[in-house]
């Protein structure tokens, strides 16, 4: 064959009119469908680049049809064609189209709307058993911290990290302890404190969640350790006769923060439990299901921690009377409980 004619023929191959020129039946099959494939490829490429504006309504409507026909072309080609490059092209094309058609349909914002509109509370309700277990473990943690410190006050230093304790250590004057529960006189630096608290607490919660990976045991241990410190502090203030004031001081943000920690621990436990007891599902499916469910809970936990940090950084320091603190803490607790357990919307969270 002369180079010139070859060049000519190549140009013809771009315009798929020359179907009869192909001597092989499988090549004719391919040339007949090539235009549709290329159109599908163009649509998919635009979708991948997020340039939906370049697509016409017709393109979008035809996408599923083109996808199906490309998929069936692939099925036929596998049985009739030995053209490796066409097969490879079709496989890639169908896979790319499949990703666009079955990709994450909702944007992050859509997802967040569904999340607040019932997805979050539904996923919290779904792990109710783990929440009960985690709550029991947390209560046990407080009790352990209290009892240990009551027996030997050296335990206090082991349970409460030095930085957190500050002036609050065993043997401190009642006045000093009382002082530590007072609000700050001005609000300077409070927002920095709040944002620091937030990222710190969020790390702890993510740790509690991720440790669910080890059958949930470390998550529970973390809950015990964190709450034992609380128990120890509770004992310290009880010893000084400031129990009610301390609880009020704690509750203003604690109802939200401890609730968030509870949910994070429960989420970790949920994953651990589904690994240990997958039921009728395969372990992989069980883990993936629980992972997706608890991911929603965890997004909620992070949001709750933001609220808690704001309460801790501002409200606690600015409001320093016990009834006021109780009122805010109680309101927050009631709000969360109502939102999680009374707020049900039909169909919400069905996809979770």
């Amino acid at each position: 064959m002369k180079p010139l004619t070859r060049l000519f023929r190549k140009a013809e191959a771009e315009a798929p009119a020359d179907i009869e020129a192909a001597s092989l039946r499988s090549d004719r099959f391919r040339l007949e469908r090539e235009t549709d494939w290329r159109r599908l490829e163009r649509i998919v490429t635009e979708l991948e680049k997020n340039r939906t504006r370049r697509l016409t309504d017709e393109d979008v409507l035809d996408l599923p049809v083109l996808y199906r026909s490309a998929a069936s072309s692939l099925a036929v080609a596998r049985e009739t064609s030995l053209d490796a490059s066409t097969l490879a092209y079709l496989e890639t094309l169908v896979r790319r189209a499949w990703f666009q058609i079955y990709g994450p349909r909702s944007s992050l914002w859509d997802w967040l709307r569904r999340f607040f509109g019932g997805g979050w509370s539904a996923s919290v309700r779904a792990i109710w058993l783990d929440i009960c277990i985690a709550l029991a473990v947390m209560s046990a943690g407080v009790l352990v911290g209290w009892l240990l410190t009551a027996q030997d006050s050296d335990w206090y230093n082991a349970l409460v990290p030095g930085g957190l304790a500050g002036a609050r250590h065993p043997g401190a004057e009642r006045a000093v302890l009382e002082q530590s529960l007072q609000g700050a006189s001005n609000s300077n630096g409070l927002s920095v404190f709040a944002s620091y608290l937030f990222s710190n607490n969020a790390t702890v919660c993510i740790l509690a969640f991720a440790l669910g990976f080890a059958f949930g045991i470390p998550s529970l241990l973390m809950l015990v350790y964190n709450l034992a410190g609380l128990g120890a502090m509770l004992w310290l203030f009880h010893d000084a006769g400031l129990t009610v004031d301390f609880i009020a001081w704690l509750s203003i943000h604690g109802t939200t923060e401890l609730f968030a920690i509870l949910l994070a621990g429960a989420a970790g436990l949920h994953i651990g439990r589904s690994m240990a007891l997958p039921g009728n599902r395969s372990i992989m499916t069980a883990i993936a299901e629980s992972g997706r469910r608890t991911a929603q809970v965890m997004v909620g936990v992070v949001l709750m921690l933001i609220v808690a940090a704001l309460l801790e950084g501002f409200a606690r320091q600015l409001i320093d009377n016990t009834p006021g603190r109780f009122a805010i803490g109680g309101t927050m607790l009631a709000f969360w409980l109502l939102y999680f357990f009374a707020f049900r919307r039909k169909g919400a969270g069905g996809e979770a």
């Binding site: 997020n50 490059s85 896979r95 499949w98 993510i206 997706r292």
Partner: protein, 293 residues
């Protein structure tokens, strides 16, 4: 084109999987090898760190130059809050934003041609992407944070613990078939390769209709599908040295050598006739895998 095509068979069989679409078509996918994923992560970290540093420097300069802050005040406080929240949120924002995009890949992954996908062949869910990124924190960022904290503080056993923690999760993908890291396991995802294959021209268009060389039944019966595929690649790569060598080998095997200088035409004709024969047999349900079968 040719290099993309040549890479198709490069993936080792161990990493090949099939996913079944809801239409019942099975699609071959290749699991991304461990090295590629480490590379993608390093790229992502470089991009992410650079972007974060630039934004933080801008925030700092804004504080110092524009607002003339040196010692405090509400504006400085606001900027510090912004910086702390930004540091916490940015890594989630980075990974979530890109992995939820239509490509399902962070820039690092995209550059190396891999993406995340749902293991069950269904839709990739937002929750899955969140779950795998929460775990990333635990697998990657926390042990390092812990490591440096231990290094500057207690040291000893804690440093070792942090290192072990990191190593367990870092090499976790090597200990399962699907190269899943902890986050993939929990999210029900895996990371697969995405290659863009271009549609190459049809082979039989290049061959003249009558054909310069005619091969008989006996000559065409020698080879199978594997050899046909190899021949296709040689023809598409169009390397004259390779063409000569292959033409010589085939000529010796079937006893009908090509005249020197016209190897390409010879091979093209042989390819077209061999493919026509194999495809005809295929339609009758007879397949010949390679020359040995």
């Amino acid at each position: 084109m040719s290099s993309a095509y040549a890479s198709i068979d490069r993936t080792s069989d161990k990493l090949r999987r099939e996913i079944t679409t809801p239409e019942g078509i099975s699609l071959p996918v290749a699991i991304a090898p461990f090295g590629t994923r480490v590379g993608a992560l390093i790229l992502d970290l470089i991009i992410f760190t650079t972007a974060t540093t630039i934004i933080l420097i801008v925030l700092g300069l804004l504080g110092l130059q524009v607002f003339g802050l040196t010692g405090g005040g509400p504006m400085a406080e606001f900027l510090i809050v912004l910086a702390i929240l930004f540091l916490f949120c940015s890594r989630y924002a980075y990974f979530l934003f890109f992995e939820l995009g239509p490509r399902g890949a962070t820039p690092g992954k995209r550059l190396l041609g891999i993406r995340i996908a749902s293991r069950d062949g269904g839709r990739l869910r937002v929750e899955s992407v969140i779950a795998r990124n929460l775990m990333r924190d635990f697998e990657l960022f926390l042990p390092w944070q812990f490591f440096f904290m231990a290094l500057s503080g207690e040291g000893g056993i804690f440093t070792l613990a942090a290192a072990v923690w990191f190593l367990i999760f870092a090499f976790f993908p090597l200990f399962n078939r699907d190269r899943m890291r902890g986050g993939d396991l929990i999210a029900g995802t895996w990371v697969i390769e995405t290659r863009n294959t271009k549609l190459a021209s049809a082979m039989s268009l290049e061959e003249s209709a009558e054909g310069n060389y005619q091969f008989g039944e006996a000559e065409l019966a020698v080879y199978g599908e594997f050899e046909l595929k190899t021949l296709e690649r040689v023809l598409r790569d169009n390397n004259s040295e390779a063409l000569e060598k292959v033409a010589e080998t085939i000529g010796e095997k079937i006893g009908l050598t090509s005249p020197p200088g016209d190897e390409r035409q010879y091979l093209q004709d042989f390819y077209a006739q061999l493919r026509a024969r194999l495809e005809r047999d295929m339609r009758f349900g007879k397949r010949k895998k390679d020359k040995f079968s």
